[in-house]
């Protein structure tokens, strides 16, 4: 037994070593460093000068002050809340609709559509941004403007992303929503495929319509999956900013009403002009706290622990 135990430890350290190293270096240490930085006045990455100066809660006080008095920062918080709420609903409902719609049609055509909707998630972020840059462009070269002008709906090109707040928000939500729905779509599709066919056939024989079947049988059976997508998407929307970064950078979207808290952290730490890593770190810490609590609650809510079975093949 003792020899066996030592053997096991040897095996385990071999198999787990790379992963533990990666988690240590790119999650745990950066988390500690982010928390530490939030207590320093670090700016412009001037490590020698500022990194070892301690300012206590100064950065957090500034955030609180800005939250109360700075219109730009207020816009960021408002944008984050609106963006999170609406995009979340769109992602879950959109994913549900896509999954159900593709469930009820010819399988070949259905997988074609599913692939098409995966494209936003899979394509290079710069290309994805380029696509919407031209689509929503504020001059007449913008596709949306040109369509609407041809239809006679508008006579002048409209700079959509500069209409605040709803123009900017709409683009923000649209661009991220398209990326997000594919997650729900895939999860729900795999859930639908696990539902016994007999249930659906029996309902059909009883004369239930597709709408009834969806509402009374399929959706209730996917409750766990809906909760899963809802919570998971919430966490990922909280910290995502890849898909809007370039659109704000290229001035397609208004800077204040196109910036979520995650993007604010990034731009404050790495943006053009004056950079303020202390402040960015403080905002990142707040974001992380919300994320970690949210993640933990999610796992409790979804009862993930029950799904973790003992491994087979242990001796």
């Amino acid at each position: 037994m003792n020899r066996m135990g030592r053997e096991k430890i040897k095996d385990l350290s071999f198999f787990l070593f790379p992963m533990i190293l990666m988690i240590l270096f790119f999650y745990i240490i950066p988390l500690v460093m982010t928390v530490y930085t939030s207590f320093t006045p670090l700016r412009n990455w001037n490590v020698e000068r500022y990194l070892f100066e301690f300012v206590g809660l100064y950065n957090y006080e500034r955030l609180l002050y800005m939250f109360q008095h700075d219109p730009t920062f207020k816009a960021v918080i408002l944008t984050t809340v609106v963006f999170l709420g609406i995009t979340l609903v769109i992602n879950v409902l959109g994913g549900l609709v896509l999954a159900l719609a593709t469930f009820f049609i010819n399988e070949r055509i259905a997988s074609g559509f599913r692939l098409l909707w995966l494209l936003p998630r899979m394509s290079p972020i710069a290309v994805y941004s380029l696509v919407w840059y031209y689509f929503f462009h504020g001059s007449e070269i913008g596709t949306l403007n040109s369509i609407l002008m041809k239809l006679g709906v508008i006579s002048q090109p409209i700079p959509w992303g500069q209409i605040i707040p709803w123009g900017a928000w709409s683009i923000l939500i649209f661009v991220n929503g398209l990326v997000g729905v594919s997650f729900g779509m895939i999860v729900f599709t795999s859930a639908l495929n696990q539902i016994p066919r007999e249930l659906i056939i029996a309902a059909r024989v009883d004369g239930a319509s597709t709408w009834d079947i969806s509402r009374k049988i399929l959706i209730p059976l996917m409750r766990w999956h809906i909760l899963y997508v809802l919570t998971w998407q919430f966490l990922s929307l909280l910290t995502t900013f890849h898909h809007i970064f370039l659109l704000v950078q290229w001035n397609l979207i208004n800077r204040d009403y196109g910036t979520t808290l995650a993007l604010y952290v990034f731009n404050t730490a790495f943006g053009r002009g004056e950079q303020d890593q202390g402040l960015a770190a403080a905002a990142a810490v707040i974001l992380s706290i919300v994320g970690i609590i949210g993640g933990y609650l999610t796992l409790k809510l979804l009862k993930f622990e029950k799904m973790m079975k003992k491994p087979r093949g242990d001796f």
Partner: protein
């Protein structure tokens, strides 16, 4: 749903039409971008009057002649190579780490296994991007001092690959664990009875059995590395296609259809993977989720 065709044909066509309508902006956006790369002017208009076919954009792009007039040149092949290097590096690191960790989580029981799996889930749910300030600080503190530019460039490649790979690791480990779970235990048992060690069994028996899983994980990681812009622009000294596009859309001299060609070139591997590996993409995406 193939086996229960009791619905009317008409209903199906209505659904397909609705789906098509909803997908229209998506189809339109990508099509216009690709079309523009073959045109003298950007085609963003539906009536296609601005479309004049030319291969010039592609020729100039592949020669690295950025502006039609003037002498601005870039080494586009070098940029493509950089992008590829990051993507392959991420794929390699993620595949290696997740096949190792995934196996042990699937097969070996140990104290703290459950906690480790919960930690992975939390890390997966909570994308590490929020920690980028700390990740960059670590980069600044570990970057080799007093070395030449070449060492710095090399280190930035090394660091960006590891940092970007780390983001993919929680999900990939779960995915790999799921694939190992599907392999019957008897396969390994015979190997262990024959006196092989766990590591030998993993390498010689298990890895060949989970080849589809390895392929899926590698593919996802490759695409993640290939599509990235945030990490690349933060850490990498050299340019990739992403930062090339970012820089050139704002530049005065840019010829936009040429940037569209660069975008199409950048999109190409994604499209190829889509067509070649659609089954793997659709299936394994949900496989990683079931836990």
């Amino acid at each position: 749903m193939k086996d229960i065709e009791i619905r009317s044909e008409r209903f199906q066509w209505i659904v397909i039409l609705a789906l098509l309508l909803a997908s229209l902006p998506l189809i339109l956006g990508y099509t216009l971008l690709i079309l523009s790369s073959f045109s003298k002017e950007m085609v963003t208009n539906l009536d296609l009057t601005s479309f004049h076919f030319t291969l010039e954009n592609w020729l100039y792009l592949l020669q690295g002649k950025l502006a039609i007039t003037g002498g601005i040149r870039v080494d586009i092949w070098r940029i493509v190579f950089n992008t590829l290097l990051v993507a392959l590096g991420v794929a390699l690191v993620v595949t290696l780490v997740s096949t190792m960790a995934g196996y042990s989580l699937s097969r070996i029981d140990f104290k703290g296994r459950k906690h480790m799996m919960i930690l992975l889930l939390i890390l997966h749910a909570f994308p590490g991007v929020a920690l980028i300030v700390g990740v960059y600080l670590l980069y600044l503190l570990t970057v080799p001092q007093g070395q030449g530019l070449d060492v710095l460039r090399l280190y930035s490649f090394f660091y960006v690959i590891l940092a970007r790979a780390a983001l993919e690791i929680p999900m990939s480990v779960w995915l790999m664990k799921g694939f190992f779970d599907t392999v019957p235990w008897e396969f390994e048992w015979s190997g262990i009875i024959d006196g092989a060690s766990r590591i030998e069994v993993w390498w010689k028996i298990m890895l060949p059995l989970v080849k589809p899983g390895i392929l899926a994980v590698a593919l996802f990681a490759f695409l993640a590395g290939w599509q990235d812009i945030i990490y690349v622009r933060t850490f990498l000294i050299d340019q990739t296609l992403a930062t090339f596009i970012e820089a050139n859309i704002e530049a005065e001299y840019s010829h936009m259809p040429l940037i569209a060609a660069a975008g199409t070139l950048y999109l190409l591997p994604t499209i190829v993977f889509f067509i070649v590996a659609q089954e793997i993409l659709l299936q394994s995406y949900s496989g990683g989720i079931k836990g």
